[in-house]
Symmetry: C2
């Protein structure tokens, strides 16, 4: 296992999308820590992390659109569908000395209406 | 101006926090494109971008907690306060050939309650 953080993040999500739970587990440290800052949830360890993903309900699929990575960490931007629902998932990663994922913190930003008073500056897609 | 994407992102937010609008403008391309995917807003050009930030209402302050950057792009994670309100701001960047910011896409994920059925896996902070 190398320390190519880009490749590790892509493999992480590819194994997840493929429901390859052993492969997914290989991308994370035995003592991986997963935090969901929006709900203040935290879970610890490879087994719990894989189980969380394995048991995540719905017909979910993810498509990675961007990965940014450097020596210290990485970030992925994914388009996720759960049935008819479209979501954006953003995950921050750090890595252990062997290049495995040591921490994951993810965010699920939702659509909202723009505040009044700036329509003269910004067009809408 | 170098092509150190880490440093450019930090300077981008430091000049913004300092209300140094000329300095902020120096960090972006003349034809920078700023997109807000949650509201589907988009604005174009250095002048509009600086004005958007200059006119953003409230006593806002930002503190950068993480920057991840590589040859293609960068991501920042900021803790933002607007008066008593605490927000998380995540911004994705790309750069032009001179190392200036060519595109910005930002996200403002909000707290929510965890769904039922996973309390056995995740503790709450």
């Amino acid at each position: 296992m190398g320390t190519d953080h880009h490749a590790t993040v892509r493999r992480h999500w590819e194994t997840c999308e493929a429901r390859d739970w052993e492969g997914l587990g290989d991308t994370v440290s035995a003592d991986v820590v997963y935090e969901m800052p929006q709900t203040r949830e935290r879970l610890r360890g490879r087994e719990a992390y894989v189980r969380f993903n394995r048991e995540y309900p719905g017909d979910w699929h993810l498509n990675i659109t961007r990965v940014v990575a450097d020596a210290e960490g990485a970030v992925s931007w994914a388009n996720v569908t759960v049935g008819e629902e479209h979501l954006t998932g953003i995950a921050f990663f750090t890595f252990d000395d062997e290049g495995r994922i040591a921490t994951v913190q993810d965010f699920w930003p939702e659509p909202y209406d723009p505040p009044a008073g700036r329509a003269q500056l910004a067009e809408r897609a």
